[in-house]
């Protein structure tokens, strides 16, 4: 009885010893070295896994950061410059300051401004409508109002305004991850520089139709009249395909262009009210 017990203990211990030796050597042989800094960097990143940096998730981005020679093209829009500075510190590399950005909707085709010309009662999905036809208005460039961008937003920075049929971006919440830009089948949303106090001036229209048609489809369409282009002292406005575009990097927020626009398609947001003209003052308040 005793010998049986002893035999069992010895054989099992021997087996265990052999197995552990094999495991040890295999572990040594196939050891994967992982830079410990990857974990450190990942801890600093926001863990939102939003994909705003261009990588599938924060871990992949951390790996790319550690591997990269410079941090030039790598930026986490969610964490911003602060996070990137910490990352740079960990990695001992130079941090690159990037202007913070914010998403803007370049369409003002609300129910009021853009008449609905037909009824769409199919699947509630922007891409499906976009692949099908111009949408329930005549403007083939404008917002379809079914909220694919809102669904794409992971940061609760967007909602659909039921009264206008357009999505609204909450500047304070927006981290410029670009998910909505990607989601919009009509490329209406753009990431623009987040200026001081979230002040923005942009042409809120991407309609490339000729002036008359654009105006017929939507009361606040850019008609390509070039008035803003002529008045801009900084050459920040370019004209192409019957459409004005304000380059956010060149724009110095002088506000000269907005009152020139005959269709009010240039929006100026978060500015103090204008003193001189009463008309435009109400405009500013409305857009706020």
């Amino acid at each position: 009885m005793n010998s049986l017990l002893l035999f069992t203990i010895i054989t099992l211990s021997a087996l265990g010893l052999v197995a552990s030796l094999i495991l040890y050597f295999v572990a040594q042989k196939f050891k994967v070295y992982e830079d410990p800094r990857i974990d450190e960097v990942e801890d600093v990143l926001p863990s939102a896994n939003c994909g705003g940096c261009g990588f599938p998730g924060c871990r992949n981005f951390a790996e790319a950061l550690v591997k990269a020679d410079t941090l030039d093209d790598l930026f986490c829009p969610v964490g911003g410059n602060e996070t990137m500075a910490t990352v740079a510190q960990i990695l001992g590399k130079e941090a690159v300051e990037t202007e913070p950005k914010v998403a803007v909707l370049r369409c003002s085709g609300s129910f009021e401004n853009r008449p609905r010309t037909n009824i769409y009662d199919g699947a509630k999905n922007c891409t499906i409508v976009h692949n099908l036809y111009t949408g329930d208005t005549d403007c083939q460039y404008g917002c379809l109002g079914l909220g694919e961008c809102v669904d794409a937003c992971d940061f609760d920075a967007m909602y659909m305004d039921e009264s206008t049929g357009l999505p609204v971006i909450i500047d304070a919440q927006c981290v410029a991850c670009g998910a909505c830009v990607e989601a919009c089948p009509r490329d209406i949303i753009e990431l623009r520089q987040r200026n001081k106090k979230d002040r923005k001036i942009y042409v809120s229209c991407i309609n490339e139709d000729k002036g008359g048609l654009a105006k017929k489809y939507c009361a606040v369409a850019c008609i390509g009249c070039t008035k803003c282009f002529k008045v801009c002292p900084f050459e920040a406005i370019t004209m192409a395909n019957n459409l004005a575009y304000i380059d956010a990097e060149l724009c110095r927020l002088c506000r000269k262009c907005a009152p020139e626009c005959p269709t009010n398609s240039i929006l100026e947001l978060n500015f103090p009210p204008r003193k001189v003209k009463e008309e435009t003052k109400t405009e500013v308040e409305k857009s706020e």
């Binding site: 199919g122 699947a123 999905n125 499906i128 036809y133 083939q140 139709d209």
Partner: protein, 442 residues
Amino acid sequence: MIRSFPKGGVHPPENKLSASRPIAPLPLPETVTIPLSQHIGAPAEVLVNRGDTVKVGQVIGQHKGFVSSNIHSSVSGKVVKIDHVLDSTGYKRLSVVIEVQDDEWIQEIDRSAQLKQEITLSREDIIKKTLESGIVGMGGATFPSHVKMTVPKGKKADWVILNGVECEPYLTSDHRLMIEKGKEVLVGMKLIMKALGVEKGMIGIEKNKPDAIAHFQELCSSENGIEVFPLKVKYPQGGEKQLIKALTGREVPSGGLPIDVGVVVHNVGTAHAVYEAVQKNKPLLERVVTVTGDHLETPSNFLVRIGTPVSKLIEAAGGLPGDTGKMINGGPMMGKALNSIDVPVTKGTSGILIIPDQQSKRKPVAPCIRCAKCLNVCPMGLEPYLLMTLADKELFDRTEQDRILDCIECGSCSYICPANRPLLDYIRLGKFRVSQIIRSRN
């Protein structure tokens, strides 16, 4: 024996209101709008300028590449505009707008009604003529016909199937064409057979067109190698893959083409257009369009010049009924709603269907109850409810594995769904995304 495809299918009410109305030529409109992209493939390159005068049959758009098609002027007159104009695709496309003056044809076109049965041209010349005349598939898919008449290297065709099924409810344009231009259609079919080097042909006609079947059986009684087959009335009997399965028993492999199983399918309208192009030098500049609808005064079949505004057709059929809710380009199953009555008739317009208001709205969508009706009716053996869910959840890898690209978009699933789910809408979305993914891989 009545043949049919074995799997799935639905039986929508046929409603062939205009079946007994002969094809009537529509008077010339004041202006025509001819889009430069009326076919699958690269848009044609515009050859005319604003202010030019053109004649009927003159080439105004040159094909670009192999999978493309020529565009001809369907009227004589002055080019007033070359601009982006809304067409039946729901978007603005580059089009040539011509103001009609008189009716002056180019001289090469043989306008006599005399039947020219003798086939004198060689294979290559037939294909060349088809390409130059801008012939595309007239069943609605508008795939350039010369491509289908060229057998790829290493493959061999042994059947030509003429598709006279017209399984879409309401539409009667092919039906009327078969009755009124049967002889021409048959010559066109023989031309296609010669171009492909094929000896055997089959004509498939749904059983609800007994007059057309009898007519063709009579015409083919003296023909060697061409047989007429009545087919069961079931939608989508006229789908290319379904028709091949019904007539030859062969199954086109997933992702493959009919030529992979040695079959080429052409629509009767295409055969007629090939006849006119090859034997009469007449390019594709007019087509038969059914204008129909339950509340329309006189549902009719018109011979219409390409580019005529749809409003002219509706006018000729008694005007737009007051309770119109929707206008469809094509049939009720696969057609697409139009968002303007000014869009032009294009090479692929087989019908204009006017639907009354109370029938035009979709019913409220309810959750899927897993009744599997969509599985049972899918002629391709797919699982529509699953594909819809996967596409909605953006699981596009799985939709690809589940063969979403095999969907022929016949709409049987959406038609049968008791919960009114927009199955096809989401399957189309899935197909679009999967094709994007496949393109990005290469």
